[in-house]
Symmetry: D2
Subunit: 341 residues, 4 copies
């Protein structure tokens, strides 16, 4: 059994980690950190976890990391880098924040507005998109979980750039994101009365921070700068991201590139040509469904990808990476079927 | 007072017409036709209308049209053309179905699969996009209400084609459509347990019938064939369409084209540059909100438009057209504010 | 035209007042007070009202009340009494808060925890349950809007106590309340991700403050103390209250008492015996639907009542009362049909 | 490994059984029966199960039961009894329908309207409320799953009758039921556009069939007829039942009776006195949360119980019973944490 600590246990990704680890055969939760709610029990903070025998929440300072084998950091960005800089240098860490995703500190500062405060750790961080960084993750001490939108978009587009089957200069990602992606923060526009029964675009025009990840990854694969268009929309549902990707290329080639890439992947399902995935069919699971269709205009294809932002888009990915880092079967604790209806 | 008949009064667009006309100063509902529910009272079919003193539902055959000044047809397509062919030749009609939207019978058969059965009437039909066919509608006997997606997309794109500020060959309309657009029909995928908490694309790749309208209208304005990409998505909300339109052109020119076109329109609001409309802010009203943003990639703009599919996208548009046909103030019965929250 | 001021215009009941008054023939909004958002336009605070030509928000101190004919106070309780104490003594006021509902200052302090700070005004306040205090309201300077639960429960139960057709000692009100009743305040449990897809009881066991109103009103009618059981539940919908009332009495007599009481009321509909109202059929309207059923156990009846908490339960009631106070037709601005779906 | 067949695999309880068994260590799904969709793959019928290697759907007639160890019947009532009468007489069966819940055929006919067609099997059926029939279930060949409302109400009330801490003649169960309880059937009132954003009571006054179970069970425990009041309400959420039970008795004794009864139960959690459970905290799990509060009126208590109708209320209960029948650990495959948000 490996001993696990979770920092930021009072947020949604923290709770999702606990939900998943509760069904894991080789992990044991030893410490739950949450400074703002230290002293409370998980039954108070997340009553849906009341049946589990969990440690009470404590401040991060009060955690003894000497017996911890791996630590998940589910803290807000900026806080995360400060906390991680102070953790033991040999502690295995999976960070779910944005702090270690961008390799170039200049890019980090451009997208996040502050200079990076843990440059040492940033250097060793491995980008956590499991299916494409598996070997590096196995050997890593610090893995940076991807953005949930960044994961969804990359699952749809990376193979198409790698195999050069689309025009690199005309990629549009129109994303529909569920509410839990915004976290448990108190914002007026996240209230039920504001949000339900309506939807809108936000961070339009190329301002969403996950673009930093798209730029970094797609440019690296292409070997030259690639800039996509990406517009997120907030949808009145709790879990799920649906990416509708408009690309220029032969639809059959696009389909083949995706099918070939993911043929042996346990969590990525390329569904039959012409079919379209739905967020309702991956809810609460670590699966990602991808569909490809031809447009009526020749030479244009539409790729749609659906995953659960809290699971495959965040905490499920983090556990998958932790499994690799601890040399456990990659799918352990992650094979639960989606919840429908 | 004008005497009004509504055919297809047991569907959502029929009910919406009644809701609107209930607040109209110069219209009086004289007959409600609904063959499948003939004999029932509206209180049974739509209990939210029980406070109104409405005639019971009857078969269309049982309606005496001699005292009717204007008839709304809210019937399914194909049925509508058969019914309308048999109505008095001098009766003013606003049709909400798809039957008279396409001027070329070849196009109609291409998109709807059957030869048109009312070619005589089709010839005199005027396309009902009020803001662009106002004069023709005033003079018309038969007005064909537009598709709800077709209206949303045209409000966003028509001025840009008219004023030639965008590339005609690279227009993408990614639409997010609420559930009521699918009507009151019994389909498994429209059940609450299937639909809520999930969303997906449908009619992908250029197969949605409203493309027939886009092709007809945009090509006519451009003076040459224009084919757009249009992908609708089903969103777990009851009312609303949000169109996210990706176009190539100067964002400021795009904004100016829209602002200039709609400056004096009572129902179309172009909101400040860089802001984004939401379906929650037009729900239950006849307003359409349009926003324009620049993308980070030069020469690309994003136009988002939001309207209520049952009101401005269908029954509200129909009433607006009926007002014009009866020489009543165009906004009569339509100025109610949106319902929020 | 009467000149109207609304204090607390940045909350849901304030926005609902504006929505209703926008369709009113004899009222003109002259001032909108909202201290926390003073300086902003309504288009910023409530974009669904952007089509209206409204004054910007100002602090209450900045409003000149000399030309105001009637003022709606949609402020939080406690704040409301302080503000109203300082308003001109001859200004007609409809208060939507809880501050003037309870006639006995001892009761007020018991339920709200602080001594009343406007005893002078409290003395002259009239309880605003229109259908039962119509004459007093017509003559009043200050009318206290009822609690939304209190209104729903009283519509169902008052006639049964007045006509003595039920056991006064065994009345249970199980209420299902939509989210907007909690206002626009930032509370974790009101977030969409927390609230949607789940429901629970709150303020259980006789602790909800609206019990103060039930006690006051029911005891006054009965001529002796009457204490009901009342348990509210939070339901994942935006508008609506459904009261399911369990009473002991002859079901037919119960029905007759309700039917007779509301026979001529424009907004209260007693639906046929055995039928059950739904919140979806009154949404966005000033109507209240009431149904009565017999239980299989003899001598027991179930009364269910549905209304929209923001309209008939609050702002609609307030406007109805304001109409009476200004000698305008009571239904002016309030006859819009419910929004369904 | 035990070989399992599921009849009625195209409905929600069938799909839920598959979801649960997918995580079960000792069960293997060998056959999926669904006459109306025979020939289809599960990926077509329930795309959220597409990652599982499941047999295609077949007609029940096409299933070879000779190698099946246990069969779940998730068929509609009436069909179920006919099918089960024809199954091998030594096949272990867990029936999820209503057909074998009522021991007295007269009661069955009273509540379900038709004479029972499998009287032989009905005699041997054991009522499947696990926590109260554990020994009988272990020894049973045929177990009748309870109604989902019946389970919820009994968890709250059985211990109170057994320990005689409440008045047997004044028990009110006000239940709030999510939509999936109505199944996947095509009914107008189950459409998203009809159902979302509204709620209502149904089967009011003692007409719901689950009353047959309450009468049978409560009367048997009490040793004399006990008739409760039970009113279900349809709530716009997909999973969950919340029972709000109004009883007369000492609240502390009520709490103690429940706490003592469920002290060692793995799935029933009696939460601290005065706290209230929520359906959001048991969603997708086999847990039932129960809370007790005192009312302000002395001698009255309110018990609220929450469970997931598809899991603990139906398929989870069925699997728990199957585990007992096959001498597997009762909790196998059922310990997954609830899904929140």
């Amino acid at each position: 059994m490996y001993n696990i600590a979770i920092l930021g246990a009072s947020g949604y990704t923290g709770a999702e980690l606990i939900r998943l680890i509760a069904g894991h055969s080789y992990m044991n939760i030893k410490a739950l950190g949450a400074n703002s709610k230290a002293g409370q029990s998980m039954a108070e903070v997340f009553p849906h976890l009341r049946h589990l025998h969990l440690p009470d929440l404590v401040t991060i300072e009060d955690i003894d990391f000497s017996h911890i084998d791996l630590c998940f950091c589910a803290l807000p960005h900026k806080t995360s880098q400060e906390v991680i800089a102070a953790l033991p240098k040999d502690l295995k860490i999976v960070d779910l924040s944005a702090d270690f995703r961008l390799r170039d500190p200049v890019d980090y500062e451009k997208w996040y507005g502050n200079p990076h405060a843990a440059l040492e750790q940033q250097k060793e961080a491995v980008y956590g998109l499991t299916e494409f960084y598996r070997d590096e993750i196995k050997a890593a001490r610090l893995v940076a979980g991807t953005g949930c939108n960044a994961a969804t978009g990359q699952f749809a587009i990376r193979p198409l750039i790698e195999r050069k089957v689309i025009d690199f200069d005309d990629i549009i990602l129109d994303m529909k994101c569920a509410v839990s992606g915004a976290g448990r923060s108190l914002k007026e526009n996240l209230l039920h009365a504001e949000l339900s029964e309506g939807y809108h675009a936000y961070a339009i025009g190329g301002t969403h921070r996950h673009l930093g990840e798209f730029d970094q990854e797609f440019s690296a694969i292409a070997g030259r700068p690639v800039k996509v268009q990406f517009t997120p929309h907030l949808i009145p549902a709790n879990r799920g991201i649906l990416a509708t990707c408009y690309v220029k290329g032969d639809p059959e080639e696009v389909f083949e590139a995706l099918a070939a890439t993911y043929r042996d992947e346990p969590f990525i399902e390329v569904i039959p040509f012409g079919q379209m995935p739905s967020t309702r069919h991956i809810r609460g699971s670590n699966f990602c469904h991808i569909g490809v269709s031809a447009d009526r205009i020749e030479g244009r294809a539409i790729v749609t990808a659906a995953l659960d932002n809290l699971t495959k888009g965040s905490s499920g990915q983090a556990l998958q990476n932790a499994n690799l880092m601890l040399n456990i079967d990659e799918t352990e604790g992650l094979m639960m079927a989606p919840l429908f209806p």
